[in-house]
């Protein structure tokens, strides 16, 4: 091998893996809750629906869990999308592609943090 390029890919990969686990464990049921349980399986009384949802989501352990899930899953997606784009011929975009993908994920994580703190 003529040349080796040093990389911190190990860091991004560890975020990708942790996010993959979080997404695999939590997202299907979360999608089921926001898409089907909330609109169709929680009775007709809007006030009580809202009460239950808000008290669930503002419970501090739930806030923390939601932050962890959104933060890690975002980086999981960013990493995968980046690699798909690289396989489709954007390898030359290198650092710019990293900034776009991981930047978007970081933005999502910050937004999630702000929203969850102010809930």
């Amino acid at each position: 091998m003529s040349h080796l390029t040093k990389t911190n890919e190990a860091f991004w990969w560890s975020l990708f893996s942790a996010g993959g686990v979080m997404a695999a464990l939590f997202l299907p049921v979360m999608i089921f809750v926001t898409g089907f349980v909330l609109p169709f399986m929680m009775g007709e009384d809007v006030e009580s629906q809202q009460d239950r949802m808000v008290s669930l989501v503002t419970f501090w352990p739930v806030r923390l869990a939601l932050f962890g899930i959104i933060f890690l899953s975002s980086f999981h997606c960013a990493h995968r999308i980046r690699h798909v784009l690289m396989d489709f011929g954007l390898r030359w975009a290198g650092v710019a592609l990293m900034i776009c993908c991981y930047g978007a994920a970081a933005g999502g994580a910050v937004a999630a943090g702000l929203i969850l703190v102010r809930l």
């Binding site: 993959g20 686990v21 997404a23 695999a24 464990l25 939590f26 997202l27 299907p28 049921v29 979360m30 999608i31 089921f32 809750v33 926001t34 898409g35 089907f36 349980v37 909330l38 609109p39 169709f40 399986m41 929680m42 809007v46 006030e47 629906q49 809202q50 239950r52 949802m53 808000v54 669930l56 989501v57 739930v62 939601l66 959104i70 899953s73 975002s74 999981h76 997606c77 960013a78 995968r80 999308i81 690699h83 798909v84 396989d87 999502g108 937004a111 999630a112 929203i115 969850l116 102010r118 809930l119």
Partner: protein
């Protein structure tokens, strides 16, 4: 005389065989999941406003056929991510007891499908009670 010939690689490799197509489907789940994460942010934001009006609009959007359709797609994509993730876990983290490799199914269930079931059940229980 040496004059090596370099050939182009098929540009449509990811459509060529079943395994490549499944790989692409697996990778593209991340696009659906990313889309859902954005929706999740908006959903939390809307919920956080606290007034009944915002919550009503949240509900009416959730009941709209477009929302049902998108949620269905996101649910399928997320479940596909879970299944492929758990099935690959034993290849990434094989375990042995002495000379024998712990069977892949055992690892997949112990580290994937089992916790998945518990987590899903717990979240549903917490939502409905």
């Amino acid at each position: 005389m040496r004059r090596p010939l370099v050939r182009p690689y098929p540009k449509d490799w990811f459509l060529r065989t079943g395994a490549y197509r499944l790989f692409m489907l697996r990778e593209l789940t991340s696009v659906c999941i990313a889309g859902y994460l954005v929706f999740m942010l908006w959903w939390l934001y809307q919920l956080g406003k606290g007034d009944t009006e915002s919550f009503r609009s949240l509900l009416s959007i959730a009941k709209h056929p477009v929302s049902i359709g998108l949620h269905t797609i996101a649910l399928i994509a997320a479940a596909w991510h879970s299944i492929t993730w758990f099935n690959l876990t034993p290849l990434v983290m094989p375990m042995r007891i002495g000379e024998d490799r712990v069977p892949n199914v055992v690892i997949a269930i112990a580290m994937g499908y089992g916790p998945w079931l518990v987590v899903s059940g717990f979240v549903l229980w917490a939502t409905l009670h």
